[in-house]
């Protein structure tokens, strides 16, 4: 797991609510058997016109948003399917954090396991971020604090174990594997 401690970057903004996993990465790109290179397909059907050329109206195609590591999105980001290809695609595209007022459960779980930080902020902070695309934002996972350059800051919460894993780069699977005696005891008791 890629550790996540602090991140400072300008933001890119996709203000629409309910951006689903089919928009983040359309299903026809899920026929891969590895995780590599999915960034090329991120937001494919919004990013490209039917003739394959970049859609100039799509925010992530605009120069101001190039190299942004923080995505600010509308409410209920990542709803829909369980495809982990969604955080894989966003990470490969270059994002390390997603900020919204709420983030769908399965997407959030998947993001945390890959070092993509899902940050839920209050409505007023969200509005501030939506209205200032490209603003510089600092995210400090240790302090669970988000700061907007020249603007307000806010505390946010990441589930304590996921936070620990991200800070030290620990794989949650190693923790589960260490529980082998407990798992065996559970299986024996039920048999």
């Amino acid at each position: 797991m890629k550790p996540f401690i602090k991140l400072t970057s300008h933001t890119a903004v996709l203000p629409m609510a309910h951006i689903d996993t089919d928009q983040i990465i359309p299903a026809r790109f899920l026929k891969v058997t590895d995780k590599e290179g999915l960034g090329k397909k991120a937001f494919h059907d919004w990013r490209y016109l039917p003739d394959g050329t970049p859609n100039p109206d799509f925010a992530l195609n605009q120069p101001i948003n190039k190299a942004a590591k923080i995505l600010v999105a509308g409410d209920n980001f990542g709803c829909g399917s369980s495809r982990e290809h969604a955080p894989w695609a966003l990470l490969d595209f270059g994002f390390r954090a997603v900020i919204s007022t709420s983030i769908a459960d399965i997407f959030r779980n998947n993001a945390l396991k890959n070092g993509l930080l899902p940050v839920v902020v209050p409505e007023d902070i969200h509005q501030h971020l939506l209205s200032r695309p490209g603003v510089q934002v600092s995210i400090d996972l240790e302090r669970e604090y988000l700061e907007i350059e020249g603007g307000p800051g806010t505390r946010f919460q990441i589930e304590s174990f996921a936070r620990y894993c991200l800070l030290v780069g620990k794989e949650p699977l190693d923790y589960l594997l260490d529980q082998d005696p407990l798992i065996t005891a559970f299986e024996t008791a039920r048999a």
Partner: protein
């Protein structure tokens, strides 16, 4: 004893380690379902780390997403959409062989959509924890199981340890009162619910569907209801098992026989909410007021009664963007809109009762010449059962296509897809932009509503007269 909800009983019965401030609970998983799309990277991780599958007998795999819905061609080959799809299926075969997991291969009697075959084989048990790298795993909650979708990292966790790290979700009781009117199905009921609570209305919660309207549903209708719990953002949807559940399961391959069956039923009866149990939230819905539903936008909450009108914008930019994509406008009715494609299938509505409902409409009628209609059974068993009942003849005589079991046009990974701009009525679960093919436009509905649209060639109320020329 503290009264408990169904969810709490399931949770407590599967705790390997309870949750603490610093660590989530370790939850034991009874059944792990796998398919070709979300498992390859998990098996690869096992290989790279030198890990084994802890309990291969608790894993069952099938292939459904990337598989063709057409039979073998003249050369004896399955017509995969491309080499990548073919390779993905081959990787699943290799992984299952290497790690000792039962696989229901393409063409075998057990093959089908993962959420159709589990219940059909009696693998889905009340009181069990069930996961799959697929959000519609919530379907299995219809049996009083705790069933939810997981990502590929967690598929790896379950393969290696049979466990998942989980924080306890909240509980949401959905009380459904009254009786459904004639022609109104579980699909309409769940679309009405999602329209009421929103696509994020269940986030962080496990839904328990309760009340007389739920009790009155058949097992297959209950599966349709729980299937779409995820479309309200819920972690899972569930219904306590009862005699309807037990009579569905009795005699199926995966359940105990003889005395062991009766013991199992006694054990399963425990998994119901105690009368005084409390939920974090409660929502009520009067099922008697629900009419056939249809979506008009690009998420499942954007749904109206079939004869309703598209509401004015209440959601900010999302609504306008959705209507622009759908080429609809606020205030208009969908009745009379020409439909290019009708898709009857998916883990939501591809079971035998769904096909019977559609066949009742098609019997003695013809699909409109301007409408392409695909009927895709959810499993090999459903297909053969439908053929035993002569339903295939009804579909074919009506001019519909009768396909092989697959997720097909629900997710458009196997080549079954809409062309840009086409309008479809689909019995599937997601009307997201491009879900059924780039630029395709999806209206979600029940099999009955979809079948009526197929014969009329346009969106129409179920009772409207069919043009005479479409009658056989």
């Amino acid at each position: 004893m503290q009264p408990k909800t169904l969810f709490e009983k399931l949770w407590d019965a599967h705790l390997v380690a309870p949750e603490a401030a610093e660590t989530p609970a370790t939850l034991y998983i009874d059944l792990h379902l796998l398919h070709e799309v979300t498992s390859p990277q998990a098996f690869q991780m096992l290989r790279e780390r030198g890990l084994k599958v802890r309990n291969p007998h608790r894993c069952v795999a099938t292939m459904d997403h990337s598989t063709p819905s057409l039979p073998k061609n003249a050369h004896g080959d399955y017509p995969f959409v491309d080499d990548q799809a073919k390779a993905q299926v081959a990787v699943l075969e290799r992984n299952c062989e290497e790690f000792g997991i039962t696989l229901h291969k393409l063409g075998s009697m057990g093959q089908g959509i993962v959420h159709v075959i589990g219940p059909e084989m009696g693998l889905t048990h009340p009181g069990a924890t069930i996961v799959c790298g697929d959000s519609h795993t919530s379907t299995h909650g219809a049996f009083g199981a705790l069933a939810f979708g997981i990502g590929t990292s967690e598929v790896g966790h379950v393969l290696a340890t049979q466990c998942l790290l989980q924080r306890k979700p909240k509980t949401l009781a959905v009380e459904m009162t009254g009786a459904l009117a004639e022609g109104v199905t579980a699909k309409d009921l769940v679309l009405a619910l999602i329209a009421q609570i929103g696509v994020g209305g269940g986030t962080g919660h496990v839904i328990e569907f309760r009340g007389e309207a739920v009790r009155a549903l058949s097992m297959e209708a209950r599966m349709t209801l729980c299937n779409m719990a995820i479309e309200a953002g819920a972690r899972a949807g569930m219904i306590a098992a009862d005699d309807v559940t037990f009579s569905y399961l009795e005699g199926r391959a995966g359940v105990p026989k003889g005395d062991a069956w009766h013991q199992a039923v006694e054990k399963w009866r425990y998994f119901a909410s105690d009368p005084d149990a409390t939920f974090d939230r409660t929502v009520t819905l009067d099922a008697s007021q629900v009419r056939p539903m249809l979506t008009y936008g690009t998420n499942p909450a954007m749904a109206i009664p079939l004869d309703g009108t598209i509401p004015a914008d209440t959601t900010g930019g999302m609504h306008a963007k959705a209507l622009a994509y759908m080429q609809f406008h606020a205030g208009e009715s969908l009745l009379g809109k020409p439909v290019d494609v009708v898709f009857i299938g998916s883990c939501t509505n591809s079971r035998i009762s769904d096909l019977r409902q559609a066949a009742d409409v098609f019997r003695g009628r013809r699909v409109a010449p301007t409408t392409r209609t695909l009927v895709v059974p959810g499993s090999r068993w459903v297909k053969e059962q439908a053929e035993r009942e002569g339903l295939d003849r009804i579909f074919l005589d009506a001019g519909a296509e009768w396909r092989e079991p697959s997720c097909s046009m629900c997710i458009a990974m196997n080549g079954d897809q809409l062309k840009p701009g086409e309008l479809a009525i689909s019995t599937s679960n997601r009307n997201f932009e491009g879900r059924q093919g780039p630029g395709g436009r999806t209206l979600l509905a029940s099999p009955i509503t979809a079948a009526w649209a197929a014969v009329a060639g346009r969106v129409q109320a179920q009772t409207t007269q069919i043009p005479k020329e479409f009658l056989v």
